[in-house]
């Protein structure tokens, strides 16, 4: 990686204080302090040390981005510390090594006493036994206890396939239950809020959801009522659990207690293809995983990226995918006169139109929902015709957590590439004037309905040529001379620049509908036909070429972007 690839010039980190401990018989050096859920340095816990040594300690209530509760007891491990003599000096074995005193029950010194790995700090010389028979026995006991009142109806549970209780039962569970008594019955199908349904019998009372909504969102809406045998997760009676982040509780629920009304019983999770993508609903650019099957998108889930969205995303962004499969998607290349047309014919005719266009007679309205690569190609056309360009600003309310007031996913990209002026939308009136006084004869519109932004149908009819690409029909697409069906971001690859200047790429989850083609593919052809410049016919090549040409991108490459993206100055 060259220096130019990233501008994250952090000062050299201070030397990390380390500590030697033994995990599963192997000595390992781990930092004395590690980041807690808020990123503050705290004494390293046994669980963190085990993770550093490659041992996954099973847990339910622990979540790296939530305060520690220590209530599920699943992460119990056997451990020992160096024995101290009465003189407060370490007791040594015959070979000179430190003698380890295993932690045992004070009243029963033959029984090991475990500690919860999530909340117990390590100490020098400590030995942790994450795989010892005693540890395994503790896990089995905890799991058996958690399963006592848990319904064993996995085949009809929506969490099946991504349930920690199932997974750990495979590792530590018994084939048959020893519990012969009646299980405690609790409320089922509880309507917690507009997007969440709760099954209290499945709840293992880990309190992840309670902590998330209290400490991350700041909406102290959930809690435990009837503490005791009938301990029940609940909201305050009559008070809806309705903030813009409620669906994250479904992700972090380790069992099938909290389920999404939108996704529940729509698809078994093991059939979903998971694709790394970016949410397009605002300029934050939350990293997501698109769950799709056979050309249909079923859900978005947040993907961890500490530079952007941690482990969370907002409900409005998460549920904003249904338009992808809308019935009225544009799926055919259309020509005003001859309606249906083929791609080769349409591109040939458009190329001819554009080749004949004189300088200054073309205007381009692109969308800040388009990818960098598409905007870059449009900019190439714009340069050729000295065209006036702009895109459409989109504003909403912002919040303290993730939601950005800018509802375009790629405003920064549009500005850096030069499609949008610094004040997005300020060129739109000029374009309208140009059409009105007849200087602009050809208008290229991508992904926006210009009739809502000062260029009404009365102006559109004055144009010689209106070339439109969009995904869904609107007033502009109805007036188009040439209509080119484009792709939703889930149907193509590309990159965005988020509000903080992070360049992030997304991958293709599903195939485009009908005859729709990714915009960059046909734009690449048009640019070649009209300007003679031949770019790269792959998204990687195109991105790399753009990053070379536009200084702001610092020569980042598609490969360097990786899954987490790279921050550039904006």
């Amino acid at each position: 990686m060259s220096n130019a690839t990233t501008t994250e010039t952090k000062p050299a980190p201070p030397p990390v204080d380390k500590m030697k401990i033994k995990i599963d018989g192997r000595e390992i050096e781990v930092p004395k302090m590690m980041p807690d859920w808020q990123g503050k340095l705290q004494p390293t816990t046994m669980l963190q040390a085990c993770a550093a040594a490659g041992h996954d300690v099973p847990h339910y209530c622990y979540h790296p981005k939530l305060p520690i509760a220590g209530n599920c007891r699943m992460c119990l491990v056997e451990f020992g510390t160096p024995a101290m003599g009465p003189d407060r000096k370490p007791v040594l074995n015959e070979d000179g090594s430190a003698k380890i005193a295993k932690s045992v029950l004070p009243y029963e010194p033959t029984s090991p006493r475990g500690a919860i790995a999530c909340a117990t700090p390590i100490s020098p010389g400590m030995e942790i036994y994450p795989n010892s028979p005693a540890t395994k026995q503790m896990r089995e006991a905890v799991l058996e206890s958690l399963l006592i009142n848990h319904p064993l109806d996995c085949p009809i549970c929506d969490q099946a396939g991504e349930c920690k209780l199932q997974e750990y039962s495979v590792d530590h569970g018994n084939a048959a239950s020893r519990f012969v008594e009646e299980k405690v019955h609790k409320p089922k199908h509880v309507d917690l809020g507009p997007r969440i349904v709760l099954d209290d019998e499945r709840c293992i009372l880990c309190s992840r959801c309670v902590r998330f909504t209290k400490d991350i969102v700041g909406d102290d809406a959930l809690g435990f009522a009837q503490r005791g045998s009938h301990n029940t997760l609940t909201n305050f009676p009559g008070k809806q659990f309705d903030n813009n982040y409620t669906l994250n509780t479904v992700d972090i629920c380790p069992v099938g207690a909290l389920t999404s009304k939108d996704f529940r019983f729509k698809m078994r999770v093991w059939f979903l293809k998971e694709t790394k993508s970016i949410c397009t609903s605002c300029a934050t650019g939350c990293n997501v995983i698109v769950g799709s099957r056979e050309g249909n998108v079923y859900r978005y889930e947040p993907r961890e990226n500490d530079a952007v969205n941690s482990c969370w995303m907002c409900d409005s962004g998460r549920l904003n995918y249904k338009w992808i499969n809308r019935e009225d998607r544009l799926t055919e290349v259309q020509h005003l006169k001859s309606k249906a047309q083929s791609w080769p014919m349409a591109l040939k005719e458009i190329s001819e139109v554009l080749r004949k266009a004189s300088s200054g007679s073309v205007a381009i309205v692109a969308s800040a929902r388009q990818t960098n690569e598409e905007l870059y190609l449009l900019k190439k056309l714009a340069t050729k015709f000295n065209a006036i360009t702009d895109s459409v600003p989109r504003h909403g309310e912002s919040d303290k957590l993730l939601l950005n007031a800018d509802r375009n996913p790629n405003s920064n990209g549009a500005k850096l590439i030069g499609i949008s002026p610094a004040q997005m939308g300020s060129n739109l009136p000029k374009i309208a004037d140009g059409i009105r006084n007849g200087t602009i004869k050809t208008l290229i519109v991508f992904g926006e309905d210009v009739t809502k932004h000062g260029i009404g149908t009365d102006l559109l009819v004055k144009l010689d040529h209106l070339i439109v690409s969009d995904i869904l029909p609107n007033k502009t697409t109805e007036s188009a001379h040439y209509l080119l069906p484009g792709c939703a971001h889930a149907e193509k690859r590309g990159s965005f620049v988020n509000a903080k200047g992070r360049v992030q790429r997304f991958l293709q989850a599903i195939q485009p509908k009908g005859d729709a083609r990714p915009e960059w593919e046909f734009l690449h052809e048009l640019v070649f036909n009209v300007t003679g410049q031949n770019g790269f016919a792959s998204i990687e090549g195109l991105f790399n070429q753009m990053a070379q040409e536009i200084p702001a991108f610092n020569g980042v490459t598609w490969a360097v972007l990786g899954d987490a993206g790279v921050t550039i100055p904006t």
Binding site: D220, A221, G223, A225, F236, P237
Partner: protein, 161 residues
């Protein structure tokens, strides 16, 4: 339904808050005072308490549902509390509880406090009333009764009318 609280009670509660380093610590005392005054703790009272102590209503709801002594509905005029801890259970408190339930048309297997239809009697099991040698023991409002047989129970009920 809005919740109104008498000025004197509110003044008393305001003073209570000053006893604690954190407002939240006064929650239980608030609930005791409210139940003392209204006889039970309504949903609106919980919301009022939460707002007063700068908490979320769920925090108060957790407390109210945890402690059996807090009621969310008005209790009967006479509250019968039957001990069910071990000594009394062995001495027949189950039979005693069932006797009361049958008398008032209540379900002896139901969880928690139940009130007769006419609102006169509430029956519930409670834990140890601290007279383990003389079980089964019970309380009727503030009065304490030992070695309560079914016939003695009927006598106690007579005094309630």
């Amino acid at each position: 339904m809005s919740f109104t609280i008498p000025i004197e009670l509110e003044a008393e509660l305001n003073e209570l808050v000053t006893h604690y380093p954190q407002k939240r610590s006064a929650s239980l005392m608030f609930l005791h005072a409210i139940q003392e005054h209204f006889g039970y703790i309504s949903k609106e009272a919980m919301e009022w308490t939460a707002a007063k102590l700068e908490l979320s209503p769920i925090n108060i709801y957790e407390l109210v549902t945890f402690y059996p002594m807090f009621r969310q509905e008005p209790a009967g005029k006479y509250q019968i509390k039957v001990c069910r801890t071990l000594s009394c259970a062995l001495a027949g408190s189950g039979k005693l509880h069932k006797h009361f339930c049958e008398k008032f048309g209540l379900d002896s297997h139901a969880h928690g406090v139940q009130t007769s239809k006419d609102g006169e009697f509430s029956v519930e099991f409670v834990e140890c009333l601290a007279s383990c040698g003389t079980g089964p023991v019970m309380m009727c409002n503030e009065d304490f009764y030992e070695a309560v047989s079914n016939s003695k129970a009927d006598e106690i009920l007579q005094t309630c009318k």
